[in-house]
């Protein structure tokens, strides 16, 4: 009886519409949250892929010194404000620590609170801190905020996990296909929000493909049970990266180096504080293996022509 009532009310009210900005934290878990909310019976609206308008909007409101990726995120967020069909909630999780109890970039911590200053639409948020609470429990609380029962949430979660697994499998297959090809292979090292956002990285993979190279995203590299490798600068006292991507990227570089790589490109957004640290170690690792290395900075002023020239020069060295 209760169930029927619930379904009736939701019908009369229509679907709950949830907006997810397609930038930054979205790319940490693409498709996962979409599937989750859709299987809960919500309608999900993603902001469109990044375009010039969105970047301009973001740059206008952002603090001039935050990283470029953050500026892009504000642009996506403001896109929902100008939308004709208003969304009920914008979903912005507060990502603090991940499963391995490693921290996310500290700029993620402030995103939900800073968003509240920018937009009037209510924000759906929950703190994902696995040092204190298991992922499942946090999601349960999140579901409670939009009046969903435990059962529904559990079901939606399993569906989303399945979908994520499927994608990972596909990725893995792609990777092995690429890794065993005879073309020169180039690794793109960056954060997922720079790799998959085609506007932000100026379609670097298309440009490289035209030259006949095989592109491997560092994100696709499969590694099982990554333990954050220790940064053995001082052999006596090695210290771990406390950032979630630090250990992961370094581990994946180790893995990918086994496949006879002919070049590596690191892309980082301007004013990314984490990359300033990470670059030192990535560069060291790659140069030790005598592989050509190119470091590219992207921001709102990056010109396509300049990018192209540098890429071509890099390809010539390989």
């Amino acid at each position: 009886m209760e169930k029927r009532l619930a379904s009736l009310t939701s019908l009369s009210l229509g679907f709950m519409i949830i907006g997810i900005p397609r930038a930054l934290i979205y790319w940490k878990r693409p498709y996962f949250w979409e599937t989750f909310f859709e299987s809960l019976g919500c309608k999900v609206i993603l902001s469109p892929p990044t375009n010039k308008e969105i970047v301009e909007k973001g740059v206008k409101v952002a603090d001039p010194e935050t990283c470029f990726s953050n500026k892009v995120y504000w642009g996506h967020l403001l896109w929902f404000e100008d939308l004709e069909e208003k969304v009920d909630y914008i979903f912005i999780p507060l990502l603090k620590t991940n499963q391995e109890k490693l921290e996310y970039c500290l700029k993620f911590f402030g995103i939900p609170d800073l968003s509240k200053i920018l937009v009037k639409t209510p924000i759906l948020t929950e703190t994902f801190d696995e040092k204190k609470e298991k992922f499942g429990k946090t999601v349960e609380r999140l579901g409670k905020n939009i009046n969903k029962s435990k059962k529904e949430i559990k079901k939606a979660l399993t569906l989303s996990f399945l979908k994520e697994k499927e994608l990972k499998k596909q990725e893995e297959q792609d990777f092995f296909e690429k890794a065993h090809s005879t073309q020169p292979k180039i690794v793109l090292i960056s954060h997922p929000y720079n790799l998959y956002d085609e506007y932000v990285n100026l379609r670097i993979d298309d440009k490289l493909k035209k030259t006949g190279a095989q592109i491997i995203f560092i994100d696709e590299v499969p590694i099982k049970n990554i333990k954050p490798p220790e940064l053995a600068i001082l052999e006596t006292e090695a210290q771990k990266f406390h950032w979630e991507f630090g250990g992961e990227i370094l581990g994946k570089i180790d893995e990918v180096l086994k496949y006879n790589i002919s070049g590596a490109i690191e892309i980082s957004s301007f004013q990314c504080g984490c990359d300033a640290v990470l670059k030192e170690f990535v560069e060291k690792k790659i140069k030790q293996n005598r592989i050509p290395f190119l470091y590219l900075l992207i921001d709102e002023h990056t010109g396509e022509a300049g990018f192209q020239t540098r890429l071509e020069a890099f390809i010539d060295t390989i």
Binding site: D63, E65, T66, L94, K96, E103, L106, K107, F109, G110, P112, D113, L114, I117, T127, L231, I233, L234, E237, Q239, H242, W243, Q271, C272, G273, D275, A276, V277, K279, E280, K284
Partner: protein, 356 residues
Amino acid sequence: MKISFPHFGNYHIVFKTLFEGIGCDVVLSEKTTVKDIEEGAKISPELFCLPLKVNLGNYLHALKRGVDTFFMWENIKGSCRLRYYWMIQEKALHDVGFSNIKVLNFNGRNFFPRIKEIKEKNRTSWCRVIKTFLLSYQKLKLVEFLEERARWLRPREIIRGETEWILIDTLKRLDRLQTGKELSKLKKEIEEKFQKIKIQNNISPFEIGLIGEIYTVVDGAVNFDIEKKLGEMGAEVHREMSLSYFIKQGIFPWREWKIQKKIKPYLRSTVGGHGADAIYEMLNYVKKNFDGVIHLLPFGCMPEVTVRPILEKIHLESGIPFLSLSLDEQVAEAGINTRLEAFVDVAKNHHNRKTT
């Protein structure tokens, strides 16, 4: 083993006493100059924050005096880049050819074991170590007392620069003295000296709060002596950020919880560094009805940049004049002066409107 460490405001006096007391041979670089900062920036990673570059500038200076080991603080609690300073600094020094230089990391966890290790190596007695700690603590207290008095006196003094002169002289003497007895003598003397300074009695100077990242707030060489400048323009400057604040926060975690509770409407999570403290302090200054808040940060400092929109929001809500200054190796003193002068005018107006 000749050791050195980067400059940090006037606290080099404290660190010097501490490390000399446990038997180290301390060689300090001279006070940070513009040239040091430039040279440090040359060899450091481009996108790193300013303190690392300034530290490297200090190191390069000290290396000319035969130093082979540097001490660097490592922040294991927060999520800011200070955690990786010692590694990056060591790598940067190795890259330019100083391949047998070591940068030792000190953090909350290994501080006492490290001290013990050094003490045993140098065969210092426990008695001397404890005495050293006590003396360092007293010196720390005195340095902060002097700075606080100077902040209060500067806008009130009749002969401009008198306070500054006494401050510099006392700090020099404090640096040289070795025992607790001498220290208490100096303390008495200095109180008398401060009392002798002629002040204008019946004025109420406008008050400005300094908030932001600890290094840029505390170190006069990096922030172009902002305290002195503001003081001489007639402002009473207040700041909470200091070394003892930092130490207290490290020892007593509930201070952080308290801050977190207070700033919850604005920020629900910590952002590392002193981001949360900046919001808390600004709210405090608004409550105390100050005439202006100046936010200091190194260019691109992750926590401070994250909280800056929130500070701006508080500024818009309360109407308190607010100025945010990002410092990096390319900032020139003249530019800062102009902005400060303009800001002081705004703060003065705010003060006058309040009193009339």
